[in-house]
Subunit: 256 residues, 2 copies
């Protein structure tokens, strides 16, 4: 809390003196969660100005951290290109988290700036009930088909990794997208390139249903020491994954 007041007064001072370059450098060094906290305590025109001084990377992180209301307000002030860039960089589950607290018409306006695939994913995620696994999962996971070779699996990973929430686990599906196994990045790297994935994947899967309560998900992730857990529907189709950091956020929020 002491730290927060130091940040706030430093930023207010730099704003008052019009020291934009110094403010930019100072902000880039701050953690996005702290910037978000500061923004909640500034005037509208100050918020707009501070936000305009952030690099795209930092601006994306800040959007992920601020509350829904401010997310919507800040976004409304940006140019078309900036909206598209920042929304594309944001994690899918963070977009859903912000949108879920906005009105349906505001949701639609924002979804219009997403590319087709992301828009479809976000619309799907918004359907799930609050407190379910479906609501906190992300569709940014890496999946490969069971008949892939190790070599081809690594190539697929290279192509999809930049967007993925975690690359420590790679999920294996059959021809109709049912989850059939999992393989760790470590196992993939040490396996012979021509070996079929289905021969080396782990078929002992710990999964949750898309409608499962978030608290049960937390218990499973804690019990089995997982970094991420796959989410399946009633047909066994892999619909998303939930990572341990999002689970921690849920439990911490519940406890406080």
């Amino acid at each position: 809390m002491l730290m927060f007041h130091k940040y706030l007064s430093k930023i207010e001072a730099l704003l008052e003196d019009g020291k934009d370059l110094e403010l930019h450098v100072f902000l880039e060094d701050m953690h996005a969660a702290d910037i978000a906290e500061v923004l909640e305590n500034l005037e509208d025109d100050q918020i707009k100005h501070v936000f305009s001084l952030l690099s795209d990377d930092k601006a994306t992180e800040v959007l992920e951290e601020i509350n829904s209301e401010q997310f919507s307000d800040i976004l409304a002030e940006l140019t078309y290109e900036k909206k598209v860039t920042l929304l594309e960089n944001m994690s899918q589950d963070d977009i859903v988290d912000k949108l879920s607290e906005l009105s349906e018409s505001r949701q639609k306006e924002i979804i219009a700036f997403l590319d087709f695939e992301d828009a479809e994913d976000v619309k799907e995620l918004l359907i799930y009930d609050e407190y379910t696994a479906g609501r906190i999962m992300t569709k940014d996971f890496v999946s490969i088909k069971r008949h892939f070779s190790v070599y081809y699996a690594i190539e697929t990973l290279r192509a999809t990794a930049p967007d993925a929430e975690t690359i420590y686990y790679i999920y294996v599906t059959d021809d109709i997208d049912r989850l059939v196994g999992v393989i760790s990045l470590r196992e993939l790297i040490i396996s012979p390139p021509n070996r079929p994935i289905e021969q080396i994947m782990n078929e002992n899967l710990i999964t949750v249903n898309i409608n499962e309560d978030q608290e049960s998900v937390a218990n499973l992730v804690s019990k089995y020491d997982l970094l991420a857990i796959p989410v399946i529907d009633d047909l066994g189709v892999l619909r998303g994954i939930i990572t341990i950091d999002d689970i921690l956020d849920v439990v911490v929020e519940e406890a406080t």
Copy 2:
């Protein structure tokens, strides 16, 4: 819960029929957390027999998962060599977790089987109050000195990684072991080999004091999306790290 009863009756049946090889194969495929749950429901002689069928790796994982009482009972039945092997493989924070609920004399008996360095670490960790950061931290982290080159830092990582709880963050200390920076494995790998660590490390550190309440630690890890947080003492000396999975365990246990 359904799964648990299936495991239990399958294992009881294999025990009754004396099918040791089949039981061994079945157990190796099970998750250690499930084996621990089954063990809590067997008779003493069955427990001893089931445990004897586990590979060293699986046995270590099971010891990490079972309750303190059973940990102590099972350990008492093992040979000297087996005790040393399994305890050496266990995570430091799990050993502390089990020992903390045993009597002081039982603690001393078990610590006697640890090597000198681990014994000293465990004795230190047992001193911290319940619910503090100190109690759930581990001393199995990777640290390097600020004047190291990237090349030498990677060599140090190679040597210490097998014992470390996480290798995604490498902590940087000065000549008197004070924490001065952090560098990610990713940053280390992409930096020129001759570059000094102090030129590329991140000095914006989020830390907790060794006496900090575990709930505050959870809030910080959640707020800043960390995979691990370093623990320092009043002099700024790096004393341990806490990983996100242990934080989740604390919060889940508190919530249930």
